[in-house]
């Protein structure tokens, strides 16, 4: 498949702050997940791809064209920005129709397409309500609807699952897959690995403005599994539980955080979780809580960079 986004030594600064630094990447997956912790440069990259801002250095080409203020390219792409902004006085359907009309559709066609798009994001019931009354999840869905309503070749979506409940997340992930199946290529960002994983195997990892890795999500998942993690366990008999856990190969240390809690450090958290359940069941330990305190992308990415 031909790459739809090609970045070459792409850099973008905001004054003294580096948003993106010497990023060279070629993206061709039907759904590509842009993954990284907050501040990694995901939004900057997507704004460059969507033609909202210009590179400070290097170049980016989207569907073979330079994106900044490129009207011809804007016919072919749809952009769902991260910012939670809508025209608050308009209804949902008015909002989508207005933007469709700016794509050149006449009133009738814009109306038909607008309703179809709202139907796909399950927003028809609220379509004639002012967007100012929408919940966070509804606003996210409306933003998404305006991005694909005109039938773009490429959909650029910045953190689309933020603020959605689990059911709606599932629905939206299914929608991204459907859109990809219908031939629309999707470039989507997230800072939550399992969300991206649910959509695609092809990821682009960014960290502190740089490209960290690009490729199969499985490889990254393996790296993350080997990331040493501290897990705090609340149990009725922490000392007896500690004796059982320290014998596990993947547990490197055990400390007691409080009379009822212990903290273990493991180099393979997935294997540890697999072992924990049978041990707890066999020993009759009453495990009351589990807290992976450093299970966040920032910690994982720091580990990967090392």
């Amino acid at each position: 498949m031909t790459a739809y986004v090609e970045a070459h030594e792409l850099g973008r600064w905001y004054g003294q702050v580096v948003g993106l630094n010497e990023l060279t990447a070629s993206i061709d997956a039907p759904i590509a997940g842009l993954l990284g912790p907050n501040g990694a440069g995901k939004s900057t990259f997507l704004k460059l791809v969507a033609g909202e801002i210009r590179p400070s250095r290097g170049s980016v080409r989207v569907l073979g064209e330079r994106p900044f203020a490129n009207r011809e390219l804007f016919r072919r792409i749809g952009f769902c920005p991260q910012q939670d902004a809508l025209y608050e006085g308009q209804t949902g359907i008015e909002f989508v129709i207005l933007l469709l009309r700016l794509h050149g559709f006449d009133r009738k066609e814009a109306r038909a397409r607008g309703w179809r798009a709202l139907e796909r994001v399950e927003l028809t019931d609220a379509a004639e309500r002012a967007t100012g009354t929408y919940s966070k999840g509804m606003r996210q869905r409306l933003k998404l609807a305006q991005a694909f309503a005109h039938g773009p070749e490429l959909l650029v979506v910045d953190e689309p699952l933020t603020g959605l409940d689990p059911v709606m997340r599932h629905t939206m992930i299914a929608l991204f897959r459907e859109l990809a199946d219908s031939g629309i290529r999707v470039l989507v960002s997230s800072h939550v690995l399992h969300e991206v994983e649910a959509m695609t195997n092809d990821i682009v990892l960014l960290h502190r403005g740089r490209l960290l890795a690009q490729g199969d999500v499985g490889e990254v998942r393996d790296l993350i599994s080997r990331h040493p993690r501290r897990i705090r366990i609340g149990a009725g008999e922490p000392r007896r539980l500690a004796r059982s856990l320290i014998e596990l190969e993947q547990v490197t240390s055990v400390t007691f955080a409080s009379p009822t809690d212990l903290t273990i450090e493991t180099r393979n958290s997935e294997a540890f979780f697999r072992e924990l359940t049978p041990i707890a069941a066999a020993g009759g330990f009453r495990v009351q809580s589990l807290d992976c305190s450093d299970e966040n992308l920032e910690a994982v990415f720091d580990y990967l960079v090392q």
């Binding site: 969507a50 909202e52 920005p81 009309r101 700016l102 794509h103």
Partner: protein, 263 residues
């Protein structure tokens, strides 16, 4: 060009609908009603056989306050509102010329300002002329009001274009605009400083325009005696030139500018 006009018209309609539902319009309608209310109060408290400086009152309230303030409020919001609301992304990711956003929204702003000025100008002059005599006799109240409203509508176009351009350049155009209108313009145009400083103001040229309109009461209005006015044609040329220059600046800035909107 056809696409440009079409996009401008769509955005004009959208902005008009949005403005009609806005609090801004309500506040501006109250402001525009101020001179009418003042005229109504005069009618109630001043004996009808007294002479009242109708042209001076009308100009001081509508020409110097209502017109520039309305133009400032609506003009400065043309672009800056989209930026502060972070909705400009939606427009700038469409296959339209960026300047069509400016033209469509500015025309909607100007239409609203023109309607408010018309109501304010005609209402005030009607109330005052139907009760009082002016220092200089007024042959036709309609001509008097029309000259003022037409002149001020052109002035509002220039003011709003200037404030629109300001809105593309600075973060708080309202503050800069208020400083321009009430410090710079008022100071220069209502004083008799030597040199041609008065000619740097919009107010000077609109005074010249209305003064030269051909209505005797405006020709002899005392408030205009503060200025060494130019001809009707000259003032018109300057105002139209300023209008196109400001719109050109705003369009140019908008077509090049990158808006870094926060999440």
């Amino acid at each position: 060009m056809k696409d440009f006009i079409r996009a401008s018209l769509i955005l004009f309609q959208a902005q008009l609908m949005s403005s009609l539902r806005s609090k801004r319009l309500l506040i501006c309608a109250v402001l525009a009603a101020g001179p009418v209310a003042f005229a109504f109060m005069l009618v109630q408290v001043v004996p009808s056989d007294e002479r009242v400086p109708i042209t001076e009152i009308s100009w001081a309230l509508i020409g110097q306050v209502v017109c520039p303030v309305l133009a400032l409020v609506f003009g400065s919001a043309v672009v800056s509102e989209e930026v502060s609301d972070r909705t400009i992304t939606y427009l700038f990711s469409r296959p339209i010329h960026r300047a069509s956003v400016l033209i469509g929204r500015w025309l909607a702003a100007l239409l609203i300002v023109a309607v408010l000025l018309t109501v304010s100008g005609f209402g005030t002059i009607y109330l005052l002329t139907s009760t009082f005599s002016n220092d200089v006799p007024i042959e036709s109240p309609f001509d008097l009001a029309f000259a003022m409203v037409a002149g001020l509508t052109l002035a509002a176009a220039v003011y709003s274009a200037a404030f629109t351009a300001l809105g593309t350049l600075v973060k708080n155009p309202m503050i800069w605009g208020i400083a321009y209108v009430f410090a710079f313009e008022v100071l220069l145009v209502n004083s008799q400083l030597p040199g041609n400083l008065q000619r740097m103001t919009i107010q000077f040229h609109v005074r010249s325009l209305v003064h030269g309109w051909g209505v005797e009461a405006w020709e002899k209005a005392e408030i205009f005696e503060l200025n060494d006015l130019i001809t009707f044609g000259g003032a018109g040329i300057v105002l139209f030139t300023a209008l196109f220059v400001w719109l050109g600046i705003a369009g140019l800035v908008l077509s090049k500018k990158q808006y870094e909107l926060s999440a």
